[in-house]
Amino acid sequence: MFVRGLKRKCFDGEEDIEGTLAGIKAIPSYNLQRQSLLDMSLVKLQLCHMLVEPNLCRSVLIANTVRQIQEEMTQDGTWQMINTQSTGQASLDRLVSTDILCRSSRDQSEGKHLPAYGAFSKDFESDQTQDSSETMSTASSVQTPRNLQSNVWEMENPQENKGNFQKSLDQIFETLENKTPNSVEDLFSEVDNSYYDLDTMLTGMMSNTKVGHCDSLETFSSPTNTASNSNCKSDLNDLDHIVEILVES
């Protein structure tokens, strides 16, 4: 687990972030380290846990760290707002490049995420060599965390999402990349007790609340719903039984 000899992007030892915070910051190095921490945190949040629900405590702590970095970057003025088009392009590139990082948690524990992270930072490094690289990489990291925060917790009413075109754009990209309907719910979606309400259930089924309002997404979600429901076994409780009846009818 603790891989030695790996070229670290992190700032351990002499380049303690604690030290740099206290005194005058060596600006490029500190920013680079902070950016790398931000990237790492986003990768951690975006990794798919296909079978088992992700650990909520861990996700909350990582998200808080991301928020902290964002706040500091905003104060520093390194957090720039870019126009929608270029951002959309940048986030697509970034999301595509993280495709290989989207592995199950088992692969993570076998250490495969480390080389994957290396690939991710290579992507980041190649950005750096370009002229407009700084702006671009900062911009893409701007886009991803902002949308991540809104996506990451729960998919609430579709009405909330309608106002934000960019948000839904990222939803599509993420879904297409991940190719599993589970991840559409993102990390913190949960089934409220109210979800078991008959009315809410029917409304949800009809408008496909869980997957958002894009047509392309429905094709991913519906096969899974019907498949899993047909597999329901006899140890369902009453509420689950009702769900089964609703879906099959």
Partner: protein
Amino acid sequence: ADIISTVEFNHTGELLATGDKGGRVVIFQREQESKNQPHRRGEYNVYSTFQSHEPEFDYLKSLEIEEKINKIRWLPQQNAAYFLLSTNDKTVKLWKVSERDKRPEGYNLKDEDGRLRDPSMITVLRVPVLRPMDLMVEATPRRVFANAHTYHINSISVNSDYETYMSADDLRINLWNFEITNQSFNIVDIKPANMEELTEVITAAEFHPHHCNTFVYSSSKGTIRLCDMRAAALCDRHAKFFEEPEDPSNRSFFSEIISSISDVKFSHSGRYIMTRDYLTVKVWDLNMENRPIETYQVHDYLRSKLCSLYENDCIFDKFECVWNGSDSVIMTGSYNNFFRMFDRNTKRDVTLEASRENSKPRAILKPRKVCVGGKRRKDEISVDSLDFSKKILHTAWHPSENIIAVAATNNLYIFQDKVN
């Protein structure tokens, strides 16, 4: 053997239960000490093994529910049988473990195989007698407390009234009565109306050992709340709030993560609580909320490695902590199969290792030392050589004697005081 996920002595220390990642519970029983061999104190042998939880599938969310046993808690013994609670992420079960060493023989209406006899063939009446048989230990599930938790259960705690218990998940705590499985009371709910605003989760919870109306719960932000159930049905307002002010000189992006409390335990006396965060163990006096009365460094040499530990997820490891029977010593685990003990009175501490390679059975454990600076002495181990995959998260201390159980991945170690 599977990875051990929880260890717990019962109230007399006669039994030791372990739960593992495969949903199994293994109970060890201490041998009766024999007068013939007074120097050989009671050892623990396997008493019962059973499958407590099975893997499940949540069809609504298309997610697996792990069968890993998160916690085991014993009920105090009230008759010949033993009762324990075991829980996975979603379901709590009450198990009865009982012995059977006699079998009734000589029924009138059925024969030895259990088949009914033809009443017209019975000419003589006899009284059934109990005959000895080989000891059989059977575990039966007596109650199943299900469908009450949306999030993952991290703690269960039996109340001192022995009639109720609580189960805590990331956002809610529920109060149960042992007799009622289809209802539970929600006593704490910190779920925000808008999940996007979620910044803090519940990490552990425990009832006060004597006051059945009092309990505490810890959070991922390093705070502990003490609640009184007499105040309101929903204990969202704490009676006491324990938080240590942050040390500005130690501030970093990882400050919050390492302040997240992974375990909280009342002392046996009920006067103190102990909390474990990533680098320290703290003892708090219930009467003082603004800071702990004692802080012990478990492995401060990791402070400069936090980024790497964040990268490999070790920073999220949840270590537990335990008191000894007299509340004078506290113990917690670390990496490299090390575990640490702190004597609260003498202020001395020791690092020991649970490994077969480095200690023979019955040999006294040698204290270990991690070398921080440049020169490494002969017996010391350097920080970079530590094996972070060998972590001791779960330990237990006998309620009255100096016997400890240490779970090192898939091995259980039991250590005792040396007898002269």
